[in-house]
């Protein structure tokens, strides 16, 4: 955002909103990504207000395997879920899982990254070693092993999924924050702040954090994407919340009942579309944020 201010320069200063909109016109990835996200939010939050998803998104709410019709615009599945309600609730649930795991990831990652980068020494070594070990274990494998220790699949909730996804959602952030802190730490403004008697915490929050916002935002989006992807993998393998109509579980049940071979295309198509939209929106936003954080990328546009 700083860039648009400096470009503006002389003359009457337009309002913040105009500036933001003007910036979005140049940063197309961010604009399209945010628009997609807004659409998904309106669809899922608005939909929850209009339809009673707490019954219609669950089994035996509708006749089994109906193709899309006036009454069931997206059709129904074999267990009698209304797929429109499933999509509305599923996007909300999947989003919640991503948001929880992403938030945990960003908080843990920022704390560890700052500890490692700012204080250095033995703390840095321990954190780096932990990150290195966890990066060696492929995320899906570790999550499968953790998830498979939960024996009673009916007890798995979306919060269990968020918990499992959280465990591996912080390493990317920790790495980025650490390297950023290492470069920022040596800048003059930090020395000035130190000389003027600011405490370490003050320096971290007032001087370092604001400079890292675009990076933090990008790694938050990355962590959300990672969490949604990881839970999707677990759900497809049957380690998901069996009772909840998340997008991944919907695809799992469609596969389980061979929806494709039975020509129930609607049961597969809508959840696929929903997930593709979610990922497309997040990755476009991520790229847009990257453009703010890394001016170098901009040069090639």
């Amino acid at each position: 955002m700083e860039l648009s201010v400096s470009v503006q320069g002389a003359g009457r200063r337009p309002g913040r909103l105009t500036l933001a909109l003007r910036y979005l016109r140049r940063n197309k990835s961010l604009a399209v990504g945010l628009a997609l996200l807004a659409f998904l939010l309106i669809f899922s939050i608005g939909g929850s207000l209009l339809i009673d998803t707490s019954t219609r998104a669950y089994p035996l709410a509708a006749p089994s395997v109906q193709p899309p019709s006036a009454e069931y615009p997206l059709g129904t599945d074999k267990d009698g879920r209304d797929l429109l309600a499933v999509m509305v609730r599923g996007i909300l649930l999947t989003g919640t899982v991503g948001l929880i795991a992403g938030s945990v990831g960003i908080v843990v990652g920022v704390v560890l990254g700052f500890l490692a980068g700012y204080y250095g020494g033995i703390i840095d070594s321990i954190i780096r070693w932990l990150t290195e070990v966890l990066i060696t274990i492929p995320p899906l494998i570790l999550q499968i092993i953790i998830a498979s220790t939960i024996v009673d699949k009916n007890k798995v909730t979306i919060f269990t999924m968020a918990g499992v996804a959280s465990i591996l959602s912080w390493m990317g952030t920790a790495r980025v924050v650490r390297s950023q802190v290492l470069t920022l730490r040596e800048r003059t403004f930090v020395s000035v702040a130190k000389l003027s008697g600011m405490s370490n915490l003050e320096i971290i929050f007032k001087e370092l954090m604001p400079n890292m916002l675009p990076y933090l935002a990008a790694s938050f989006v990355g962590a959300v994407m990672g969490a949604i992807g990881a839970t999707f993998g677990l759900e497809v393998l049957g380690l998901g919340p069996a009772r909840e109509p998340t997008i991944g579980m919907t695809i799992r049940w469609a596969q389980f009942h061979s929806a494709i071979f039975n020509q129930w295309w609607w049961w597969v198509l809508w959840p696929c579309l929903a997930l593709i939209l979610i990922f497309a929106s997040l990755s476009l936003i991520n790229r847009g944020l990257d453009e703010i954080a890394n001016p170098r990328v901009r040069r090639s546009e």
Partner: protein, 336 residues
């Protein structure tokens, strides 16, 4: 490069693999899950068969597998058997060992994934190099964004769409499996068989390639943009070298280095990279074995696959570090 560096790197690899193996050992044991009881519970669920003196049977198996010993002793036993290349027995196909099952599945996975990884690397890097090159036509530069969005979508989803449209609706390619089971009894060495396997592998390969080509393109373009600003590229241009020469020997040669590192790492993760897609297509690799093990509560197979993937990743990470100075002469370790 010094030998001492390689030795140090190797010790670090052992250290990382050992930590990872310890994590893998303790997670399930701390959760108080009893693999044998769970296996019998699964048998009862799927077949309705419940032995009368279940508790005694479980006890007998626990003693047989050493699960009754104290945790520390179990840990030492486990570590020493892993060192000897023994990952225990499978519970679902008892008395087959985990190593037997894995070595049956591994070749399928390695062949499928190494071909797709290599193809993805070549295609993605090619597109990325062209997209970052200032004289490329606009449509090549515009390809990166859609490919990047595609890269965010799990390969499993792309696979699902490919199955539906290409295999099911258009009936162009087989739906699942690795070979036509009605034509071949099992794997054999003949042109026919190889052709058949290739036909079956096209869709899984395509979904894996589509899902990750954007990642490579983006990485290469990013590096390419950086390299263009370097003095040696400007100098080469002012010397009046031909564009083709600058492109290959000044631009690609330098921008490709991080890609090669990423390629080595990608090869390390081939064991786990295709798990979901293999499942989707019923391709008889590690992914399908893992899925079967999850469904049958065969915990020993799950842990064994975990170990294999960790070792593969660890080894490839070490190779990258050791081989990198050969690729990029600017990087040297321990030079005084």
């Amino acid at each position: 490069m010094k030998i001492s560096y390689i030795v140090r790197r190797f010790l670090f690899l052992i250290f990382v693999v050992w930590t990872a193996a310890t994590v893998l050992f303790f997670i399930p044991r701390l959760s108080r899950i009893n693999p044998i009881r769970e296996r019998f519970a699964e048998i009862q669920r799927s077949t309705g068969y419940a032995p009368r003196d279940l508790e005694n049977i479980i006890k007998a198996f626990e003693i047989k597998f050493g699960l009754d010993k104290p945790l520390v002793e179990q840990y030492l036993d486990y570590m020493s058997s892993v060192l000897r290349g023994d990952l225990g027995v499978s519970l679902m196909r008892y008395p087959k060992t985990v190593v037997e099952l894995i070595s049956q599945a591994l070749p399928w996975t390695v062949i499928l994934l190494s071909v797709t990884t290599l193809l993805t690397f070549l295609i993605g890097t090619g597109i990325g190099a062209l997209a970052g090159w200032p004289r490329s036509p606009g449509w090549v530069k515009g390809m990166v964004t859609p490919l990047m969005v595609l890269a965010a979508v799990p390969a499993y989803l792309l696979g699902l769409l490919l199955i539906y449209f290409i295999a099911f609706r258009a009936k162009l390619l087989p739906l699942s499996g690795a070979y036509t089971t009605s034509r071949f009894m099992g794997p054999e060495l003949s042109i026919d068989f190889i052709l058949d396997v290739s036909r079956h592998a096209i869709l899984p390969a395509l979904s894996l390639i589509l899902a990750s080509v954007g990642f490579w393109a983006l990485g290469m373009r990013g590096m390419g943009v950086t390299v263009q600003g370097e003095d040696y590229v400007n100098f080469a241009e002012h010397k009046g070298l031909r564009q083709r020469r600058i492109f290959y020997w000044y631009y690609v040669r330098n921008a490709i280095l991080p890609q090669v590192t990423a390629l080595a790492l990608a090869f390390g993760s081939i064991v786990s990279a295709g798990i979901l897609v293999e499942n989707l297509y019923g391709f008889p690799g590690i992914g399908s074995l893992l899925n079967a093990a999850i469904l049958a509560n065969d915990f020993f197979v799950i842990y064994g696959i975990g170990m294999i993937t960790i070792i593969a990743v660890g080894v490839s990470m070490m190779l990258v570090d050791v081989l990198y100075p050969l690729l990029d002469p600017r990087i040297r370790y321990d030079r005084k």
